[in-house]
């Protein structure tokens, strides 16, 4: 197999290629002037050319998975990530790679004499660049997924605050539907708080839970059972009349867990269980209050 002229071309015409490439990017709109300064773009391009040159020198142009191409892969992954954060579309980022093809092909046409050899060269170089472009897209996608996952986790944590109402009494207002994923998060948060505060009573308020079907009830029972296993007790509050009806209708057995229609009622019960009571302060004579 004939050796490609790519390494030689990259080395010999490095600065020219750089200039033409940057010009091509600015012209084709692959560069967003509002997102990145031209000087920064130039720096990125220059670094890529350097790394590309070093990798191409090894003569391995068939695959970019090997160790010779690792610096290039790392670079592409890095800029794909940073560009994603900056707001570039994946196509724009991939075009960073693809737009170098133009200047390179122009050089190849000049340097490679026979048409047949030229076709071979163009194919090798094109495949190589396609692989690199695809790599940027994959990295872009992965970075996006990481952001989405992180945001999902944060959302779940935000929507399950465990509040300390009093010494040893926790409250967990549930808002929204209770699916299995949410139940896991809720259980983890509640149980950890029980350990951290040494609380023995947890009030789970379901005022904000729109419907209670069999599955939701099962999740609720799971949470109650887990709390019990840790040595704490649950009180379910915020049971609206419709929910009460649904529970009976579905034949859901909440066991012997205490239930109250309001959070206030639950709190009263919790204090009772803790052996506490609320008394009115006797106002001192002449205090005017």
């Amino acid at each position: 197999m004939a050796t490609s002229r790519l390494p030689v071309i990259l080395k010999q015409y490095e600065s020219d290629l750089l200039t033409e490439w940057v010009k091509e990017m600015s012209a084709s709109g692959g560069h967003r002037a509002n997102l990145m300064r031209e000087s920064e773009l130039r720096e990125q391009a220059a670094e890529f050319l350097r790394l590309l040159q070093a990798a191409a020198q090894t003569g391995q142009l068939e695959s970019i998975q090997g160790s010779e191409w690792e610096p290039v892969r790392e670079f592409l992954a890095r800029i794909s990530r940073s560009r994603g954060i900056q707001g570039f579309t994946p196509s724009e980022t991939a075009n960073f790679v693809f737009s170098l093809k133009g200047p390179l092909f122009a050089r190849l046409r000049r340097e490679v004499p026979s048409a047949e050899a030229l076709v071979g060269e163009l194919w090798t170089v094109s495949s190589l660049f396609d692989r690199m472009g695809l790599l940027t897209m994959e990295t872009f996608q992965k970075a996006r997924e990481e952001v989405i996952n992180r945001q999902q986790r944060e959302m779940m944590e935000l929507s399950t605050p465990v509040v300390t109402l009093w010494d040893g009494v926790l409250a967990l207002p549930l808002i929204g539907t209770l699916d299995s994923g949410r139940t896991q998060t809720v259980m983890e948060a509640l149980l950890q708080k029980i350990v951290d505060t040494g609380s023995e009573v947890a009030i789970i308020d379901i005022t904000g839970v729109p419907t209670v079907d069999t599955l939701t009830a099962q999740h609720l029972i799971k949470t109650i059972t887990a709390t019990r296993l840790m040595g704490a007790d649950c009180i379910i509050s915020g049971i609206r009349p419709q929910i009460a009806q649904t529970i009976v209708h579905l034949g859901v057995d909440l066991g012997d867990v205490a239930t109250k229609s309001t959070l206030a009622g639950a709190f009263q019960l919790a204090l009772q269980k803790a052996g506490l009571t609320v008394t009115k302060v006797r106002s001192a004579p002449g205090s005017g209050r």
Binding site: K142, E145, Q184, E188
Partner: protein, 134 residues
């Protein structure tokens, strides 16, 4: 999907149950699974290993570290040449107080895992495979 690492453990005695639990815990930690997720797969492994020993009359478990696109996972395949399970659906339903057989083993392990697969033939043996993804 590719297997990054694989290891076989014999399940012939009750001390093997401890070894299996420890190995699964180790691999789960290496996968940086959360504490709850670690506990789930180690407990599931304990149940299935116990089944393999008690019901399957001994066997083995293969631990595999999987790489599937963006995610990594831990797959455990329990295999024995025991009597086999005549009614799998029933076995999955069995309650804790059921007299013979696996009690919560199968159903519990299924609930604690992301993927669950069971193949069993009476007189030939059983293979149960569970996977937990990170």
């Amino acid at each position: 999907m590719e297997t990054l690492r694989s290891e076989l453990f014999g399940i012939r005695s009750s001390s093997d149950l401890v070894s299996v639990r420890q190995a699964v815990r180790q691999w789960a930690i290496e996968l940086t699974m959360s504490l709850v997720d670690q506990t789930k797969i180690v407990t599931a492994a304990s149940e299935l290993a116990r089944n393999t020993l008690d019901y399957g009359k001994g066997g083995q478990v293969r631990l595999e570290l999987l790489h599937d696109g963006a995610r990594k996972g831990l797959r455990l395949s329990f295999e024995d040449q025991g009597p086999g399970i005549p009614d799998i659906a029933q076995a999955l339903k069995d309650g804790y107080t059921s007299g013979t057989g696996m009690g919560l083993g199968l159903g519990g392990a299924k609930r604690l895992s992301h993927d669950f697969e069971i193949v069993s033939r009476v007189g030939e043996g059983t293979r149960v495979t569970i996977t937990r993804w990170k």
